[in-house]
């Protein structure tokens, strides 16, 4: 049952390593679980799971694997499985094995089994367990040697209840996107270079210069490490983007508050990028600038993030008069503007607030995906987008 738990966690995508598993085993050996399933739940989570974003997966696996453990619970299957553990000698008969266990890790074994049972008081010989086997070592030893702590059980609900509640659903990184998580994801968006005024003491150089100077102290300064990433954000607003207002707004806030960036400029468009792009999110006409100016103002080292659902009528993307604002009839097709942006800037990605299943059905999204790498608006998606912007592919020719 325990190994099943381990592999079920891994199958669910929780990164559990042997090292952590051994840590849990050691904790159980020490009696840290205080013989209750709730404690076992807390203990195994503390040892095995290292991020709240996996708590939900952990809860689901826990509920599945230990389902029914709390109620009437037959031990025989689990006992057999436990005995199949490689530390046992397979050739031995049940009886011999039990005797061996009693001699070696009797204590350990008894505690393993105790956790299978919800128990809030002293374990007095385990009649329930013995009932099945008779000779099993688990009846031996009587009381719990360390005295069981019963602290705070009233305030806590049982482990199964907690696990089945799935209270950590909102911490899953592949589902929700809160501001803090977005910021964490964006933190990777940096490329450090030394630039600006020389304010940091260069110790090695100072010593070297001082020696050259015959012991007369000579301090050498150098510029500090600074993030050299400049980010250009092009964001689709209005229409089909309205349902995505909150997640998109959080992304925007996170970007605005990401002071690590060297420079950050947001621009807005509706539906697709055409002749004009807007500095104002309401697309006011006096905030419009020609899209061509973007390419003139910002050199190819700017990283471009386009946020949009990429969903429109195919004509609006590929047609010559695609702009849905009839006053602004376009000479250049939307798709050509997108290609120009991609040609001009070394790195550009598309972040789509719709789920990937939806892009595959959308004709225009598929066309746009052939131009820009497209990522989901989730923490995972943003992380992937950031590595696409920063990573080693398509390395710049200069510095």
């Amino acid at each position: 049952m325990f190994l099943e738990f381990f592999y079920a966690l891994r199958a669910e995508g929780v990164p559990v390593a042997i090292q952590e598993w051994m840590m849990l085993m050691k904790a159980l050996e020490m009696g840290q679980h205080a013989s209750s399933l709730t404690s076992f739940y807390n203990l195994s989570r503390a040892c095995l799971v290292k991020s709240e974003s996996y708590f939900d997966s952990f809860d689901r696996v826990f509920a599945k694997v230990f389902h029914g453990v709390e109620g009437e619970f037959s031990v025989s299957d689990e006992l057999m499985q436990w005995l199949e553990n490689p530390i046992n000698f397979v050739e031995l008969t049940e009886e011999e094995r039990a005797a061996l266990e009693m001699l070696t890790s009797d204590e350990l074994m008894r505690r393993y089994l105790e956790i299978l049972e919800e128990q809030t008081e002293r374990h007095d010989g385990g009649g329930k367990w013995i009932g099945t086997g008779g000779r099993s070592p688990f009846g031996h030893g009587g009381e719990h040697p360390t005295g069981i702590r019963v602290g705070g059980t009233s305030r806590n609900r049982s482990a199964m209840k907690v696990a089945e509640d799935r209270r950590y659903r909102n911490y899953r990184t592949d589902v929700t996107l809160d501001l803090r998580q977005t910021k964490v994801a964006l933190k990777r968006l940096r490329r450090l270079t030394r630039s600006g005024p020389a304010t940091e003491l260069d110790l090695d150089e100072s010593i070297s210069e001082t020696c050259k100077n015959g012991g007369e102290i000579e301090l050498v300064f150098r510029p500090e490490h600074r993030n050299n990433v400049r980010l250009l954000l092009l964001m689709d607003v209005g229409g089909t983007m309205d349902p995505h207002f909150w997640p998109v707004s959080r992304l925007l806030t996170a970007l605005h508050e990401e002071h690590g960036l060297r420079e950050f400029r947001p621009y807005y468009f509706h539906n697709c990028v055409y002749e004009q792009i807007y500095e104002d999110a309401w697309l006011l006409q006096d905030s419009a600038i020609p899209t061509g100016d973007l390419m003139r103002h910002y050199d190819e080292r700017w990283k471009v993030v386009i946020v949009g659902d990429a969903a429109m009528h195919p004509y609006e993307l590929m047609g010559l008069r695609g702009n849905i604002n009839p006053r602004l009839e376009a000479e250049t097709r939307g798709i050509d503007w997108l290609r120009r942006i991609d040609d001009h800037f070394q790195r550009a990605v598309w972040i789509n607030p719709e789920p990937p299943a939806y892009w595959q059905r959308s004709q225009t999204a598929n066309v746009i995906r052939s131009i820009f790498p497209m990522f989901e608006l989730t923490v995972d998606g943003i992380e992937q987008a950031v590595s696409a912007l920063i990573g080693a592919r398509r390395v710049a020719a200069a510095g």
């Binding site: 040697p145 360390t146 305030r155």
Partner: protein
Amino acid sequence: MSETPHNDEFNHFKGTDGYIASTALMEAVNCAIALERPLLIKGEPGTGKTLLAKHISEALGMPMESWHVKSTSKASEGLYVYDTIQRLNDARFGDGDVGDIRSYIKLGPLGRTFKARQRHVLLIDEIDKADLEFPNDLLLELDEMRFTVMETGEEIAAKERPVLIITSTNEKELPDAFLRRCIFHFIDFPDVELMKQIVDVHHPNLDAALLDQVLIKFYWLRGQNELRKKPSTSELVDWIAALLRSGVTQSRLEAHIPFLGSLLKNEQDTESLLEYTNRGGELPRKWEDLGPKFNQ
């Protein structure tokens, strides 16, 4: 057969009078103490991550050493610093004992706890503030609790492995190799019952009806998904202090949220709440108004 020296009363953390810990947290702390592993604490700001170390040190009667990590902190600073500049200066101007390199080796927080005779509680606060590689640079030292001072060849090994509490605010992700060595606990946002106990620690003998009103408003605010920054426990405690000092009555609290500034720290949040009330939006008065989650 009954040898479990780690689990005795002596090294058992149960919270203190000034710190209410959930059972899960206590178990994580005790597990970390027993296994001699670092305990990594994460959680929303204001849930008492940093305070925990102080109270563990109080409860277990161990001295405490803390290391507040900054964005410029380097792993080696926690072990020791070799003050070259001072030595250079002394050599130039003839002060101090330049010949003895040991007088220029200054132990950092880790070094001091390793060298101490008594078991310490060591807090490494906000480890994620530092460079991404920072935790990796400490792996060996935290595993073996020993290091060598390069300049003198002296080895400093922990006589008593310190109880290591590490907090993280989730600004940067921590490396896997580091995480694998830690016991992890995520401090949940306290539920109403636990919150009442926490408030009681800070403001004892608060009128029950008033406290209910305070908590209804507080949890309602936290339930608003549009908020950019949700109020946390420490803000609640400050808010109650402000309310008490102004002598606010329970009936006034029913229809208003006075001293909003101590709960909401973001201008836009305050504005949208004012807009909501100006539009005639209702504030909750009873627990029933908060929906089924609070009325089980």
